[in-house]
Symmetry: D2
Subunit: 93 residues, 4 copies
């Protein structure tokens, strides 16, 4: 199990406010069934690396369907083999 932070930077949207473009992204994350937590600088999800990368793929498709012409997807995946890594575990830190 890994924990990842996903953050999308949208370029060329004319307005610096991009919340409306990110609403469908949160829906995709919700629909994935993965445990997630909307943080201040990105959304954190918990899952296998395969599940996380599959989610990134769907978020990429979704954001480009909103009419955004350019996106930089920023992804940090934390994974370890010596002990379980979960959102709850990280919250306890």
């Amino acid at each position: 199990m890994a924990v990842a932070e996903l953050c999308l930077f949208l370029l060329g949207t004319e307005s610096p406010s991009v919340g409306k473009y990110l609403e469908p992204i949160i829906k995709v994350i919700k629909a994935s069934g993965l445990k997630y937590h909307v943080c201040l600088m990105g959304t954190v999800v918990e899952g296998s690396v395969d599940e996380i990368l599959e989610l990134v793929k769907r978020c990429h498709e979704t954001i480009l369907n909103t009419g955004v012409k350019r996106v930089v997807i920023n992804l940090k995946i934390d994974d370890r083999v010596d002990k379980p890594l979960t959102i709850e575990g990280k919250m306890g830190v």
Copy 2:
């Protein structure tokens, strides 16, 4: 006012668990007096860019004083001039 996420990757610590090295960092952040929020993949702080960079400097000094031999400091600063940017504002998104 800007909002930034600070995340430190510590290399060469022998154990993959690095929580003990990060405790003094949280103390430095607390002592800065800046508004902050410990998130799952980093700590988010609110302040002027000068205040944030000053805090990064102190965190860098502090982490190397813990005996860590190599650190990668990962910093994302979000700043805008068209409207205020605050931790509360981002929480409302």
Copy 3:
């Protein structure tokens, strides 16, 4: 076509020098057939988002097979629909 930067932070290694663990990663990237460029703070690859995510998956498997106990995969994917995005194009900037 997208351009991505992949950077792996290896936590818990005995030494802060991690070059030996990254050699098999470069082999995996070479074997992918994708155009790539080893930069100073990560390796940049060019491909479809699917190809890039598939490569990330293989790099994840490979790095954990080297005995590393914890890895933070840092990925930035730049993609746009209004004009082609290539390594050569970015070099010309």
Copy 4:
């Protein structure tokens, strides 16, 4: 001596092409006198952490002077105490 990668994401520009806004940034980096290397997904500079953070401050001021309304500054600083870290050293990896 540390080595850092600086990358600016400009939000709210009319076009997804942002090269023209980044030209003054390269001038500021040049004028800093620090060793630098324009890479594909950011510009890598070599210097003390103080020099790097000072440069980030000037880049922040400069980018907002170009009329950009929102910027996300993405900074990765790699620093170690066990042996020197330089752009040449990283190139030899």
